[in-house]
């Protein structure tokens, strides 16, 4: 009886994932039939005219998430190192839960703060400064009048990814045997040489998996991005311009979708997201198969 219930529950979980894939692809079917894989490269999205292409959003997703990962990986790994190797025990007990709290802040609140407080500040101070110093790079172009931008979205995503990378890598670094670290120290290595020579190499695959999970989180985030990215329809060279991501577009247009085609196209976006989510997740599982990287996420 109990065994039966347990099996049923487990099967329900498996059925859910299958059903998710079925529903999403079923909903996307009309759009897939109509435009096939060309949908991915097509950069026009005009629901009123019935023209749908995911290119702009695909690019926006990749750019904002790449920016988030580029910032969050070094910051998160550094925090992991601090928490596992540097911080005094008492301080670790305080800082660790605080970093995890950052992950507990709902994305809608982060996005609300992002558009009302962070974006105007960036628009007024950070973006002009970056343009002044690095303006020769097209990605740091002239600063427009509003702070809603891919740049702001990338920073908000960074805030979401950092605690994921930090807590997983902290757990990973704590698994490095102290004998190995002693071995390095006894050879007259500095703390940094010990980290670079022993701690990081022996956890590299786990750290990569952590970054992969963090990337998956960034790629799939809809709400906070929708709030700060400005829902642009054009591709711009500059990060300071508006743009949009797959997830954000679904969140913004799904509730008010105009037509069956529009719905199907949004389902198609969701299907792409599902595939991206599965790929990053499975990739993370595979890269980090020596480690239990999901542990820190579920906590």
């Amino acid at each position: 009886m109990l065994y039966g219930l347990c099996v049923l529950a487990a099967l329900l979980a498996v059925a859910t994932i299958v059903e998710i894939a079925y529903q999403v692809f079923h909903g996307a079917r009309p759009a897939i039939d109509k435009s096939g894989l060309g949908f991915l490269g097509h950069t026009t999205w005009k629901p009123n005219d019935g023209i749908f292409g995911a290119g702009t959003f695909l690019l926006g997703t990749v750019v904002s998430s790449a920016m988030a990962l580029a910032l969050a990986a070094p910051i998160g790994i550094s925090i992991g190192l601090y928490l596992s190797l540097l911080a005094p025990k008492g301080l670790r007990g305080i800082v660790s839960p605080l970093v995890e709290l950052l992950a507990a802040i709902p994305s809608v609140i982060l996005g609300f703060w992002g558009i009302l407080i962070l974006a105007p500040w960036l628009n007024k101070h950070a973006e002009p400064a970056l343009h002044k110093v690095l303006g020769f790079l097209p990605i740091f172009g002239p600063v427009p009048t509003t702070g809603a931008s891919i740049f702001t979205a990338g920073l908000i995503l960074t805030i979401m990814v950092v605690p994921i990378v930090a807590s997983i890598s902290r757990d990973l670094f704590l698994t490095v045997p102290s004998e190995l670290q002693d071995g390095a120290l006894a050879l007259g290595a500095t703390r940094w040489e010990t980290v670079r020579g022993v701690v990081l190499p022996s956890t590299a695959s786990g750290v990569a998996a952590a970054c992969c999970l963090g990337l998956g989180r960034a790629l799939g985030e809809a709400i906070a991005v929708a709030q700060v990215i400005g829902a642009g329809n054009q591709i711009h060279k500059s990060l300071f311009e508006t743009g949009d991501t797959l997830a954000s577009r679904v969140a913004l247009q799904f509730p008010g979708a105009l037509s069956k085609e529009h719905f199907a196209a949004l389902f198609y976006l969701a299907a792409i997201l599902l595939v991206i989510g599965l790929v990053t997740n499975l990739l993370a599982q595979w890269i980090g198969r020596r480690f239990d990287v999901q542990r820190a996420v579920a906590r």
Partner: protein, 300 residues
């Protein structure tokens, strides 16, 4: 092997201060350590700034009326009572769905499953955890809303799917901490497995499982994306019936405010953000503390 040609690059009697390139290496190491400390400081600072912003602006909106009154049709004043009630109904119902399924799945994985099937289900859970919440919203829309209407129930199902892997995972971890000797003792008495699970294993892990569930609740309470698709159209006023229509809820309330340029709406949204954040931070901090305690209890 008595070659005495061991070179002495270093004078053994020299003082033990940094020699050779050590000063530079120590500098590099010190810089790296400062950078790591700085990164931790940065994360805490951002957390502090966000929490401060929400508290400073939200506190202005907070009052008894704010928690108990309906929002006005336009302008300032009024409260978010329907959203608070709606969120409670949706999250509560979602928990009622996710907790039993999650705990039973965890029991299956720790007590019954073996080999390949266990791995498949574990993988399924991890993959489910990696599905973007907006996709779960699209799924539930296709499953329950399309052709019918939005509902609080659909929102609860979406949250349940998000909570399921979290509940299962934390329950599994607690169950794995139950000493094997307890199981063996029950087995030795000739008790059927399900009896030993119900009578011995589950009770000793229950505290940990419940706190793990509370953590999942804290995570789900702030989820916005799926609710936006399946419970964003709702009647005015406080409603509790999850089947008749969509239910107002705090996350969608905040999201909608951020999409409009209404200062009165902003104030209420900050207040709503404060209520939501306080709930989430307090429950997740509390649950974490309890979880750590019940883990210690089981591992002792």
């Amino acid at each position: 092997m008595t070659d005495m040609t061991t070179e002495t690059l270093f004078d053994p009697t020299a003082p033990l201060t940094a020699s050779g390139n050590l000063r530079r290496r120590q500098l590099v190491s010190g810089l790296a350590e400062s950078a790591a400390t700085g990164a931790a400081l940065l994360a805490i600072t951002v957390l502090g700034i966000v929490i401060y912003a929400v508290i400073a602006r939200g506190a202005a909106a907070l009052s008894w009326d704010f928690l108990t009154k309906n929002p006005p049709a336009f302008g300032s004043g009024g409260g978010i009572a329907p959203a608070i009630v709606g969120t409670a109904v949706i999250v509560g119902l979602g928990t009622l769905i996710a907790a039993p399924v999650g705990i039973l799945t965890a029991l299956y994985l720790t007590e019954f499953a073996r080999g390949r099937i266990g791995n498949l289900i574990r993988l399924t859970m991890d993959v489910l955890n990696g599905v973007p919440s907006i996709v779960i919203g699209v799924f539930v829309f296709g499953l329950l809303v399309r052709g019918h209407h939005q509902s609080g129930f659909a929102a609860a199902v979406a949250l349940a799917i998000i909570m399921l892997p979290l509940v299962a995972r934390s329950a599994q971890e607690v169950l794995l901490l139950v000493p094997g000797s307890l199981r063996e003792a029950a087995d030795a008495l000739g008790v059927a497995r399900w009896r030993s699970v119900l009578g011995v294993i589950l009770p000793s892990a229950m505290g940990g499982i419940l706190t793990g569930t509370v953590l999942a609740v804290a995570r789900a309470a702030g989820e916005t994306a799926p609710l936006l698709l399946v419970s964003s159209i709702y009647p005015n006023g406080v409603h509790t019936n999850p089947f008749s229509s969509g239910l107002a809820n705090i996350p969608v309330y905040i999201f909608n405010a951020s999409e409009q340029a209404d200062p009165g709406g902003f104030t209420r949204a900050w207040g709503a953000a404060l209520v939501l954040m306080a709930f989430i931070l307090i429950t997740s901090l509390g649950a974490r503390a309890l979880l750590a305690r019940s883990r210690r209890k089981l591992t002792r």
